[in-house]
Each structure stands twice: as structure tokens, then as C-alpha cells.
């Protein structure tokens, strides 16, 4: 199982939208996919399951690692797509923002997930580099960085890169798959310029070719608790996530990322 954390310094950059729809793209391609909501706001759960606030989830496991995985995993209508909600303990004190407090339990969670024959585990994290998010980055095989195509968001990039460089000390195997531009608005000059600036700023291999455009269909999909591809007129958006999935798989193969968590 390859674990990929979706991380960003800034909130509201489309992390949950990216996580939900990318997980759906992996699952549609036949890969057994587990989407984990590690954002205490429980956005994935709210997007996909009506009763997510009642489900035991990731933060319940951090509070009590004796909870069996079967109680955490929620199947969906797509056989290859399951999710773990943030849980009822999602307002549980996440280590006072300190790094390392939940490292062992996060790793246990990922190991337990790996024993369930998942190919991919996508983890939607809380914004910022602190607490549980840091422990997830210190445990995952790889990360993807959604970056909103607007100037203010891009200005937060140095802080994120600095933080990630520090975290690679505790996780030297961490593979940075790249930055994915989100909420791109080509018809808005500031957004297009910010995207262009980012392309000049970062090494080519650091930036995904696929960008996610701002589209009201994401709001409609979220309102219905569905991945965007399930909606009528959602094909274009779905194609973008398929393209991103292909890029990710290619990068994983190229960089020979191997799973840290393997069932014995």
C-alpha cells in the first residue's frame, strides 16, 4: 500500500476536493483505495457520508488504537473505494500542536490499513504543518501539495517547503510528488499570472502538468456528497483527476516509491 498525504500550509486551497476526487479516480481505475479524513473539521466525511459525525474515525483511533479497523472503514457504492471519517473524537486534543505526539499511532493506523489489501491510501490532512499533520507527513510514503492559483496562496509556499524539508529528517523516504495547481481561473488575470509565476518558480518536475480549474460543479458535487465525476456534466472535471492520477502513478513508478507499510 502506498500512502499519500495531501498537505498544504494554507487552508481553503481545495485539499478536500482534490482528495475526494483523486481517490475516486484511483478507485475507478481499479485500485483498492482508502481515503482517510485526517482533518479535524471532517470535511471528507461531510462531503461523502451524511452520518459521518456519528462514525468512529481516524481521531478515535488516535485516542484509542484498540478500535478495530473494521469499525473505522466505511464502504462506498464503488467496491474499490472506502473511506475513514475523521471521527467523533475529531475535536480531541491533537497533541497541542506538537510533533511526534501521535507518530506511533499514525504509523500503526497505516500498517493496519496496509493489511486490508489497499493499493492506495490517500490522507486529507488539516492545513498547516503541526501536530497530527506533521506526524502523518513523517509516516507517509509520499505527499501532494495542492496550491491555489492565486498570489496570496503562493506566497505561503516558502514556509511550507521549509517545513517539509525539516520533516524529511524524520521521514527520509518521503517522496514529494509535487505541487498541483488548484482553483485555477484562466480568465482571471491574477490567477493566470500566479500560475505562470509558480511554473517559473519551481523546478519542472515539482509541478504537476495537470491543474484543477475552479468550477461550480465542485460545489454542487460537495452539496450532494458525491465525487464530481458522478454528476451530470462532471466529465471534464473527472478527466482532470484521471490525468492527475496518471501523472502520480508515473511519478511513483519513476521514483520507485515502495510501500513503507506492508503486511507480513
Amino acid at each position: 500500500m502506498i500512502s499519500i498525504a495531501i498537505v498544504s500550509q494554507k487552508g481553503g486551497v481545495g485539499k478536500t476536493t482534490l482528495s475526494v476526487n483523486l481517490a475516486h479516480a484511483f478507485a475507478r481505475a481499479g485500485l483498492n483505495t482508502l481515503l482517510v479524513d485526517a482533518d479535524p473539521q471532517g470535511s471528507v466525511g461531510l462531503s461523502l457520508t451524511r452520518q459521518s459525525r456519528l462514525l468512529s474515525g481516524f481521531y478515535d483511533f488516535l485516542a484509542d488504537p484498540s478500535i478495530p479497523m473494521e469499525r473505522l472503514i466505511v464502504p462506498t457504492r464503488l467496491e474499490t473505494f472506502s473511506l475513514v471519517a475523521a471521527g467523533t473524537a475529531s475535536d480531541y486534543d491533537a497533541g497541542n500542536g506538537t510533533t511526534g505526539a501521535h507518530l506511533a499511532r499514525v504509523r500503526t493506523f497505516l500498517f493496519n490499513a496496509s493489511t486490508r489489501r489497499y493499493d492506495i491510501c490517500l490522507i486529507d490532512t488539516a492545513a498547516g504543518l503541526f501536530g497530527v499533520t506533521n506526524d502523518i507527513i513523517s509516516s507517509a510514503d509520499a505527499i501532494i501539495i495542492p496550491q491555489q492559483a492565486e498570489p496570496l496562496g503562493i506566497r505561503s509556499l516558502p514556509k511550507l517547503l521549509e517545513g517539509l524539508n525539516r520533516l524529511r529528517i524524520t521521514n527520509p523516504r518521503l517522496n514529494v510528488l509535487g505541487v498541483c495547481l488548484t482553483m485555477l481561473q484562466q480568465n482571471l488575470i491574477e490567477s493566470a499570472e500566479a500560475a505562470s509565476a509558480l511554473r517559473h518558480l519551481l523546478p519542472e518536475e515539482m509541478l504537476f502538468q495537470t491543474s484543477i480549474h475552479r468550477d461550480e460543479i465542485f460545489i454542487r458535487a460537495s452539496a450532494k456528497g458525491l465525487p464530481v465525476g458522478v454528476l451530470e456534466n462532471g466529465k471534464n472535471a473527472e478527466t482532470a483527476f484521471d490525468s492527475l492520477r496518471a501523472e502520480i502513478l508515473s511519478k511513483l513508478a519513476k521514483s520507485r516509491v515502495t510501500a513503507t507499510y506492508q503486511p507480513h
Binding site: 510533533t99 498570489p151 516558502p158 529528517i169 523546478p203 518536475e205
Partner: protein
């Protein structure tokens, strides 16, 4: 107008990004540890609490420690090390450092203040400092922390309340140090920091 570049240093950002794309060299790529295979990427464990004792009046561990005269403890707790005393402190710390290296085979020794600022560093692993301070602070009530960072490399972090304030000692050792040795090191560090 460029909406991004005037707000940040493009060369610095590119450098950070390129650094992320490069593989991280292990701190001590030495002998293989039979207890861990290639998939092992480290763990953290906390030791039993190491209470911060009063500065020792006599040195019960004088058989193994260099002899140092112990004046009365300072009246006022200083939050940080002031410039003149810092030099004296560092001179004494070199003695401590030599003792630590010799008796515990410690290398890459560093010392941070409560804010994570470097007091002493021979480690060449500046990137450890942020993690060291955070880990030491998060386990302050528990005691020392050790982190496996390579096949035969443990980063030992010993937070310590001294007359100079809270400091964090970091050192690389081959195996995690037992609680008794941590206690001895802590006492000697407090003693080193207590002398004026």
C-alpha cells in the same frame, strides 16, 4: 506586475524545492542494524521522568566526571545566557562535551536554549534543531527522548532545567542510553550550567 516574485526570494524557493526533490542522506549510513530491515524509518520513545535536581553540592559521580568546584547556586534564574557568562559557560561546556564524547561515545553534540536557538553545535545537522526543540518541549514533563534516525544512530535529546533556564542537549549515540546514564548526564549538565 508580477504578483508573486516581489513577495518572496525566487532563488531561495527554488533551492528549497530542489532540496525536497533530492534524496535525504542518512545521518550515519554505517553498519546494518539486524533489528530493523529496510522498511524501518524510525520511532520515538520517551524514557522515565528525569527530575531536575538541585545543583549538586558534592559530586557523587566524581569518579567518572571531571572535578569541578561548585559554588552556591545563583540567586536569580536567568532566562537566557548573557554575553559575558555565555563565554564562560561555553568554556565549561567544552569539558562537559569531552566527557560526554569519551564516556558515552556521543558525537554531533549540540545545545539549544528554550527558543531553539543554538548555544553550542558541533553536529552539522542544523535541520535537527527545530525537531529537537519541539520534541524536547513536547515531552518536557516526561524526560528525555531518543529517536532512531539510522541503522546505528540514535539522536538522544535531554531537556534540562538549569540556572540558565530550560536547555536541550542533543547528541548522537549508537544505542539509546539507559535511564541511569541519562540521569548522570543531566546532573553533570546542570552542574556545568550552575558554575559561575
Amino acid at each position: 506586475m508580477d504578483p508573486v516574485n516581489p513577495w518572496l526570494d525566487p532563488a531561495a524557493v527554488r533551492h528549497l524545492a530542489e532540496q525536497l526533490l533530492r534524496p535525504v542522506a542518512p545521518a550515519h549510513p554505517s553498519t546494518a542494524d539486524p533489528g530493523f530491515d529496510d522498511s524501518f524509518i524510525g520511532f520515538i520513545s520517551a524514557e522515565v521522568a528525569t527530575p531536575a535536581p538541585e545543583p549538586p553540592v558534592s559530586a557523587p559521580f566524581s569518579a567518572t566526571l571531571p572535578t569541578l568546584s561548585v559554588p552556591p547556586p545563583p540567586q536569580a534564574i536567568q532566562p537566557t545566557i548573557s554575553a559575558p557568562s555565555r563565554t564562560k559557560f561555553l568554556q565549561r561546556f567544552y569539558t562537559f562535551r569531552d566527557w560526554l564524547a569519551k564516556n558515552h561515545q556521543a558525537t554531533d553534540i549540540f545545545l539549544l536554549d528554550r527558543e531553539g536557538k543554538v548555544i553550542f553545535d558541533e553536529s552539522d545537522h542544523g535541520r535537527f534543531h527545530f525537531m529537537a526543540k519541539n520534541l524536547a518541549c513536547s515531552t518536557r514533563a516526561v524526560g528525555n527522548v531518543h529517536i532512531k534516525i539510522g541503522p546505528s544512530a540514535i539522536l538522544e535529546l535531554i531537556p534540562c532545567e538549569t540556572s540558565y533556564g530550560y536547555i536541550v542537549l542533543g547528541a548522537m549515540v549508537a544505542d539509546a542510553l539507559p535511564a541511569a546514564q541519562i540521569d548522570t548526564i543531566t546532573k553533570f549538565l546542570i552542574q556545568t550550567a550552575s558554575l559561575t
